[in-house]
Amino acid sequence: MKTIKVSVVTPDGPVYESDVEMVSTKAQSGELGILPGHISMVAPLQIGVVRLKKNGQTDLVAVSGGLLEVRPDQVTILAQAAELASEIDIDRALRAKERAEQRLNVQQAEHIDFKRAELALQRAINRLAVTEKRI
């Protein structure tokens, strides 16, 4: 089966590099599935999961937004933070979730902090969901 090279890179270093059969993820405009030979494309991503299909198995990577760059032979995901499902720190994500929820309850008034807390909550929920493979 044809494969396509995928790399997920973050400022702290590469997170994932492999040849896979299919990449599927959630861009800001909706779900995207990418097979080998896809036309060159750039799309911003939502906070969510990247599913990488390979030999009947699926690897999951949690990303906090970022950008997807597609070339016919290569897919690159540029994210400010990304983790493989097995490398997510569950305790930390749980704590982050609690903290964000508290902030959301308290600071309804302040707009910017509210938005930040909301994003933090989304990221935490995303990480937890990925570890439980609920996606």
Binding site: P14, V42, L67
Partner: protein
């Protein structure tokens, strides 16, 4: 001439100092190693984002994004990166002096500029002189992860976007090698010279080029700031390593010269004693 005991105590204290500086040198060497490694890990991300930004910004002419446009300058932002601690030779003072001179030559009043300080040294320096420090962060770890400075980077870029200042300069220390680091001034915003050595690719945009730039440009500017911080950290540890090695060498030299005068003083004391004994014996005869 100093007494034997005085010299002895000087030697011991210098020895202790040199032990400390030696230890600090080794600590810095380890941190320097890791700093260079994390700067290396950052390279693939930076190259890729530069490549994509260049292709999107160049490939789609006629798109006006605020971060690409030069506007009339009413206020200038200065982002200064120093360390929290001293004992790194001229590392901090070089950056701070360069920034200070630039500000003094360009601006007449305090309202024309704003300073964003990373590191205690820069913050204290500019606050003490009553200059306008609008944002500061201290206690950045020696191996900063992107998450550590995401807030300050995002805030800085946000301030440009909402018009707090109209251009942004960055002052940091560029790491050349273990023995050479140079202070660098870089105009960060508006983004003007996005270039890449690689061949530009043409892309389909999903949903549109504008919306991609909306996400991409802030992310790009933030990574430039993070890159400068990693560069500065590697320089800091290299500078401290060199400074501490020099201190250890100097201490050794001092100990040598003290030992020499200690031995001289000891011999003088012995000679004097013998003279006294001989003199005493001669007096008895």
């Amino acid at each position: 001439m100093a007494s034997l005991r005085d010299i002895k105590s000087k030697i011991t204290s210098t020895k202790k100092t040199s032990q400390i500086t030696k230890a600090m040198e080794m600590v810095s060497a380890a941190k320097w190693n890791r700093g260079v490694m994390s700067a290396k890990a950052f390279v693939p991300y930076m190259e890729k984002i530069q490549e994509v930004t260049a292709s999107v910004a160049m490939g789609s002419k006629g798109i006006a994004h605020p971060m690409l446009q030069t506007r009339q300058v009413k206020k200038t932002g200065y982002l200064v990166i120093t360390s929290d601690r001293g004992l790194a030779g001229a590392y901090n003072s070089n950056v701070v002096r360069r920034t200070f001179q630039a500000i003094q030559s360009r601006h007449k009043s305090n309202d024309e500029f704003a300073i964003i300080a990373i590191g205690r040294v820069a913050r204290d320096f500019f606050v003490k002189r009553g200059m306008n420090v609008i944002l500061d962060i201290v206690g950045v770890s020696d191996q900063p992860s992107f998450a550590d400075i995401k807030d300050i980077a995002a805030n800085t870029v946000g301030m440009f976007a909402d018009g707090t200042f109209d251009e942004l300069f960055m002052y940091y220390t560029h790491y050349v090698s273990a023995i050479s680091q140079e202070v660098t001034e870089k105009k960060l915003l508006p983004l003007s010279d996005i270039s890449t050595s690689k061949k530009l690719a043409s892309y389909e945009f999903e949903p549109s080029a504008e919306e991609i730039l909306e996400v991409l440009l802030p992310q790009y500017a933030e990574s430039l700031i993070y890159g400068a911080l990693l560069d500065s950290k590697a320089s800091e540890h290299a500078a401290r390593m060199t400074a501490m090695r020099n201190a250890t060498d100097n201490a050794k030299e001092l100990i040598n010269s003290y030992s020499l005068s200690y031995n001289r003083a000891r011999q003088a004391a012995i000679t004097q004693e013998i003279t006294e004994i001989v003199g005493g014996a001669a007096a008895l005869e």
